[in-house]
């Protein structure tokens, strides 16, 4: 009898209910999770290591003492806070504009049947797979002609017209989301005499708040991490990502006479400084990221 009970606890009614199975899942997840986070843990550990700790083979994960000098140096090289502000300008603005505009477009597709709808929708989808490289040179020529190179507008304008980073995905998300709102809402509002734009702003937008938050956050993160077009259109713009890419030369020119040469600790502290703003956003808003993928119907057809 007890043997049977024990068996039931260990193996469960079904294999997947038992303690053994659960333990295996935990061990697997913790092991994979550790490997997965390894680069981040490594980065944190090294960013607090003094030059002597770095060469000392006895110091593995935990530095002898917390050494903040790495951060002071890399913050100075990056000119951290002014650069952060400038970077946020070309991250937040396009993300906000893109979210607002793609919601309009998604709503138009979701709530109206009109001539040419299928073709436009297909075109929206197809823009997702066109690599930037194919159209970047003419865009570059165009921006150059209008004096928009190195101006935030070269990032903001495409976002304003829903041609920004992954705009197609956001249009699709809003399309899915607005389709889920019952049509009777619109009809009832129409009977009350509300116009199409009133319905959009008064009814659809408030209902779609979760989609807005998720799209904004993804846009924010994707803009922050998009550096290919940034270095093409804003080569001289003070952006943290670009400063990280040229960190080595910037360091050696600023600290040319210093005894402490550039080491892993300093470089990884600079890297951490770049990702910290996003880590903070993620810590506060992580639900919206993770659950957003499920709830906004990104995973629909």
């Amino acid at each position: 009898m007890t043997k049977q009970k024990l068996k039931k606890i260990l193996l469960g009614k079904e294999l997947s209910d038992g303690v053994i199975f659960k333990a295996i899942v935990y061990v697997l997840l913790i092991a994979i999770g550790f490997v997965y986070l390894y680069p981040i843990l490594y980065m944190i550990s090294y960013s607090f290591k003094s030059p002597t700790d770095i060469i000392d083979p006895m110091v593995n994960w935990i530095p002898r003492r917390l050494y903040f000098d790495n951060y002071l140096r890399s913050a100075k090289v990056l000119n951290y806070f002014p650069t952060l502000g400038m970077s946020l300008l070309v991250t937040l603005l396009p993300a906000i504009l893109q979210t607002a505009v793609t919601s309009l477009i998604g709503y138009g597709f979701a709530k109206y049947n009109f001539r040419g709808k299928k073709i436009w929708l297909m075109l929206v989808l197809s823009t997702f797979i066109v690599p930037v490289q194919v159209y970047m040179i003419p865009r570059y020529v165009m921006f150059n002609k209008f004096g928009l190179l190195d101006s935030p507008f070269s990032v903001i304008l495409p976002a304003l017209f829903a041609q920004g980073v992954n705009s197609a995905i956001f249009i699709l998300v809003f399309y899915q989301f607005f389709r889920m709102i019952p049509h009777s809402f619109n009809e009832a509002a129409e009977l009350d005499g509300a116009g199409p734009y009133q319905i959009f702003f008064r009814i659809a937008v408030p209902l779609a708040a979760p989609a807005y938050i998720t799209c904004f956050l993804f846009g924010f993160v994707w803009y922050w991490n998009e550096t290919y077009l940034l270095s093409l259109f804003l080569p001289g713009y003070p952006h943290l990502q670009l400063k990280l890419a040229s960190f080595v030369s910037a360091y050696s020119s600023l600290y040319s006479k210093d005894i402490i040469k550039l080491n892993e600790g300093i470089r990884l502290s600079a890297t951490l400084l770049i990702i910290i703003p996003m880590l903070i956003v993620y810590l506060i808003m992580q639900r919206w990221f993770v659950e957003g993928v499920e709830k906004t119907g990104i995973t629909g057809e």
């Binding site: 659960k22 994979i32 009109f114 194919v134 041609q163 991490n225 956003v281 993620y282 992580q286």
Partner: protein, 296 residues
């Protein structure tokens, strides 16, 4: 009356999507056409602007003749090999993690956040720094002498991409954050009662995974495949696209590098389309009925 109503309806609809059509024309369609023209022209940058002279397929032929073109083709081939290794790893990894996370247990939310974290921080420069400073996982792999085993036991053509793969294996896993969530969302939509019915019929977890879970996910796996290919193809540190941008600003008396870079971009686009086409033929779920049955 009715016609008037549909016209009004169309006008309102277009007032919503008009922004996109305008943006598409200015920032996408026009540049695409211009880029096609560039790729078939001799483009010279003058003080007054661009001088574009049609030159037929000269730019495309040049890619197979000049050194810069060879380097491009080589990088393109390397990228395709890399894709061949990375794509299945990312897809399988995201399924495994999603299946592990798809049960109720303490800490589920924490693990879910961990596996999504890289999406938040993976920019080109950050990944570059992590790899170059040894945080990419080379140490873990190396400590077991794994890389030297590969290098010694395989011939160099196969060993090179494998070593490249394993020395950045963690970073490769990092590309699966969004895909994990997509699969996870799919798993949660599968009707529990199907599993119960299968249990009654005596199916074990292994069988249930292959016969129920995987078929139900086929649609989303396909979405993930497309997403992953596009993600890897457009990642800012991708050597092919780096090379195209580098070529763009080269100056040479005999060649027009705006033209050559445009031709490279079109070759790249066509190759990506071909890859997506082949993957669609192989993995596009054909049975629409199945999709309906599982309520997706």
């Amino acid at each position: 009356m009715n016609r008037k109503k549909t016209l009004r309806n169309d006008l309102i609809a277009y007032s919503f999507i008009g922004v996109w059509i305008f943006g598409f024309a200015v920032f996408m369609a026009f540049p695409l056409v211009a880029s096609l023209v560039f790729s078939l022209s001799n483009v010279s940058v003058l003080g007054t602007g661009l001088e574009v002279k049609p030159s037929g397929f000269k730019n495309f032929i040049a890619i197979f003749e000049i050194e810069d073109g060879f380097v491009f083709l080589e990088k393109l081939a390397d990228f395709l090999v890399e894709l061949l290794f990375r794509l299945p790893i990312i897809i399988v990894f995201s399924i495994i993690i999603a299946v592990l996370l798809n049960r109720k247990f303490r800490g589920r939310a924490l693990f879910r956040s961990i596996f999504f974290l890289p999406v938040i921080i993976s920019s080109g420069p950050v990944i570059n720094e992590l790899i170059s400073q040894g945080a990419g996982g080379t140490n873990i792999i190396n400590s077991y002498g794994f890389i030297s085993i590969i290098e010694e036991s395989l011939n160099p053509t196969l060993a090179k991409p494998l070593v490249a793969l394993f020395s950045e294996i963690i970073i490769v896993f990092w590309f699966s954050g969004v895909q994990i969530l997509i699969i996870l969302a799919g798993l949660q939509k599968i009707d529990r009662s199907i599993y119960e019915a299968a249990s009654v019929d005596g199916a074990g977890p292994w069988e249930k995974f292959w016969k129920i879970t995987l078929p139900a996910l086929s649609n989303l796996i396909f979405v993930n495949i497309i997403y992953t290919v596009v993600l890897l193809a457009t990642f800012s540190e991708n050597e092919v696209i780096q090379h195209i941008r580098g070529s763009m600003n080269k100056i040479d008396q005999n060649y027009s590098y705006y033209g050559i870079a445009s031709a490279m971009a079109w070759i790249y686009f066509i190759v990506i389309l071909a890859v997506l086409g082949i993957l669609a033929l192989l993995f596009m779920p054909r049975e629409r009925k199945r999709r309906k049955r599982f309520g997706q």
